[in-house]
């Protein structure tokens, strides 16, 4: 059986006309001889509308009930697409997450797929039916309906493709994956392919257009994920195992993040206990720390800088004011006008000096770097937001992004 899994996002099934358009795309693949499994999101802004009603009733509705509510969105879109296909003369059947046997674990509204019982899927494919699956949802060990978090339909699609050991295509409202956000840098290049690892880094940096969990599953089962637009036939991007070509490129992508603030504590007593206490108290307030740097001690004090999400700044300040009173010599400064630039590329493993090359580039352009952190395939720089455009242009041109 030559099987193909396709996923269509909410914008692609936002109206009856668009659903008919998706039906046509599926039929054209069917005619090419594929057994088709189609995973859908809810229509357009349906999920948001449902959530609005929930939040009219409660600021904090039980998450189990929210899952019960919002999982109806996909049930509507899958039944309508099945009708469109049947009307066009193609046998199709829609299945909820529960019916398809998508077993999840973990909390409501952010469950994870534990396993998929593919017997129902295979049965219908064997009878040459187009199987339309509700994305984003599953069922837990209590038979409660669960959802996988925003973008969870991607994960449903990749998990099903992994179980069926077939390719997976994700159709969305962007036409592929770019080396950097085209809204920031219009000349940004669309990538033909990107490795799972790079895509995971990009996704975690907020630059990705895909659910991180989907990429992890694709990587684990080595399922190529093709991302493209559901409108037209433009070539998209394939997320796959890294190959020689990918490794020859130093940098694949550049992620730009404006959602962090940088906090600097100066004259902090040079003691691992004090440092530990600071980060422990921040963690207890659920403040997420991303980058951290500490200067070498001078006069038995150090300067510590770290970034936190801007929307967690209030909690962070509360914690830090405690330390200001406890250690009056500590100085506190907060910079909200920072940009985190991250370059990602598996080529960095074999090519040394990428960090240095970028330092030189930025220095030549008179751009000051406040913090740097590096990992195996990623380097992040904190710069002032006013320098962002120049820095992006300089790096993109140098590395041909």
């Amino acid at each position: 059986m030559k099987i193909l899994v396709q996923k269509y996002g909410g914008t692609s099934v936002g109206t009856i006309e668009k659903i008919q358009n998706v039906a046509k795309r599926i039929i054209s693949n069917k005619k090419k001889g594929y057994k088709m499994v189609v995973v859908l999101s809810a229509m357009g802004d349906n999920t948001d509308k449902l959530l609005e009603m929930a939040y009219e009733l409660s600021d904090n509705p039980p998450k189990r009930e929210v899952d019960m509510l919002i999982s109806t969105g996909e049930q509507v879109s899958i039944s309508l697409l099945s009708m469109a296909l049947n009307e066009a003369g193609y046998a199709a059947i829609s299945l909820t997450g529960s019916q398809v046997g998508i077993k999840t674990v973990g909390n409501h509204m952010k469950s994870r797929i534990a396993d998929i019982d593919d017997s129902t899927l295979r049965k219908h494919l064997k009878h040459d039916k187009i199987v339309i699956v509700a994305g984003f949802q599953g069922i837990n060990e209590n038979s409660d309906i669960t959802t996988l978090g925003r973008g969870g339909s991607d994960t449903s699609a990749v998990a099903i493709a992994s179980k069926l050991q077939c390719p997976c295509e994700i159709y969305t409202d962007v036409d592929g994956i770019y080396s950097l956000d085209p809204r920031v840098y219009p000349k940004a290049k669309k990538l033909d392919s990107i490795s799972y690892e790079e895509m995971l880094e990009m996704a975690s940096l907020g630059a990705g257009i895909m659910h991180g969990r989907a990429i992890e599953i694709g990587q684990k089962y080595n399922i190529p994920i093709y991302v493209a637009s559901s409108m037209g036939d433009k070539q998209g991007t394939t997320i796959k195992e890294s190959d020689k070509t990918m490794e020859s490129t130093a940098i694949t992508g550049l992620a730009i993040d404006n959602n962090d603030a940088m906090i600097t504590l100066s004259y902090v007593p040079y003691s691992i206990k004090v440092t530990a206490e600071i980060f422990d108290r921040l963690a207890n307030k659920d403040v997420n720390i991303d980058m951290i740097s500490q200067t070498s001690p001078r006069d038995n004090t150090v300067n510590i800088s770290f970034t936190v999400p801007t929307n967690e700044l209030t909690e962070a300040k509360e914690v830090l004011s405690f330390f200001e009173s406890k250690y009056p010599q500590i100085g506190l400064s907060i910079n909200e006008r920072i940009t985190k630039l991250s370059v990602v590329g598996i080529g960095m493993r074999s090519q040394s000096g990428v960090a240095a090359r970028i330092f030189v580039l930025l220095a030549n352009a008179d751009i000051e770097v406040d913090m740097v952190t590096t990992s195996e395939i990623k380097i992040s720089y904190v710069i002032n937001t006013q320098d962002q455009q120049l820095a992006v242009k300089t790096i993109a041109e140098e590395f041909n992004l």
Copy 2:
């Protein structure tokens, strides 16, 4: 365990505010010490809106997919009500037809409840949770979602009450069951109680406000069904086993039906074969015959009159034109301006002469009766629609309806 099943119809949960209102009503019962099971319909005209989308895609969408689509309506209302109750501090859990174990048989869009696995219900009730059940829906032997036809939520509620052996209350947008339609006869009396049998007859005559199947199940398991308005606290009507008081009343209800036409065939050859052929051909065209009367033969011919639904008249005429050509002596007349009045009452069993009493009443009022049929607890009269108001007033006043 003192359990109570309540069902709220679509109008009663049409808005967020109305859902909050229903939550208050449930809480007041909870405070009285009841373990509550609440069965809901979809919000307002939600089901119609979903069906509209389906019919945009296909004139004849697969019924399985229609069930998949419209069953989302109740899933939305139950989760929202559960949120409202939890927000008010009462533990509640919503369950789909599938989760509650409502097993159905028969065709999609008009399935029948075969059984209910009450273990999940009882488990949650034992933990003192308010259980909110999606009405109208169940699951068949293929694990496909099914629906029970218009008004099916009543059936869900009564079936659950039957399984739990507890009373059932149906809250709707009318405030009880009337002896006759108050829109036709404003002085119509609301009944305190009505027997299952009478209610079944009324329902089958189109005068009922309840799903016939719900009444049958209530009767089979002897579950009293209380019907009242969800707005205010006006006393409603209880559908229950007949008792002495009911039997002392000759007539409980009067149903008025304007949806039939009367067809009269004159000079039909007096032969059972011809009569059989006529009704056989009508049946083959799916024309539903209700009342039939035949005169005694004269000159070896008879006159045959019968009623058919007005919207099946075209098919009926096709069949009959065939007989006009086959037996040129046959005369055909059609009267679309007829009213079928049916009086219903279990008291008729013990009180003879009700039919005669009505004949005299109508004769005194100069109202001509075209056809009469009688059954154990029902008598139906066909009269001209122009006489309807007078006939209704005359009968209602005489029998104190």
